[in-house]
């Protein structure tokens, strides 16, 4: 699964640290999500989408082929 967190964050011109505290997680978590190291939980995905005023499916892109 891909996401456009980094792009949305840069549009808003905020740092990883600001986003992290806005959605109540660690900066490490934001880094890992942006760099595709793992997937957000449903709650975190919701918080992030809400923060950017988007829907979950707008922020997280589910390319088919990943029913891993």
């Amino acid at each position: 699964m891909k996401n456009c967190i980094k792009e949305l964050r840069k549009e808003k011109r905020i740092s990883q640290e600001e986003l992290a505290s806005a959605v109540a997680v660690t900066r490490q978590t934001i880094i890992s999500l942006e760099n595709g190291k793992y997937n957000a939980s449903l709650l975190l995905a919701h918080e992030i989408a809400k923060y950017f005023g988007k829907t979950i499916e707008e922020v997280f892109l589910f390319d088919e082929e990943e029913t891993n």
Copy 2:
């Protein structure tokens, strides 16, 4: 977070087992989600929503107050 998996499933008149295999998880997982024992992962949420032809936010209801 709440969800209307059980309701959607009953509308479609399918068993937990059918849903489970359709989205490639265990029946246990479906039971636990329906009974609110834990939250789905983002990927599973997507699979389930897709299966029912809905968006994630239509199936999973994020009552605010749960930034636990």
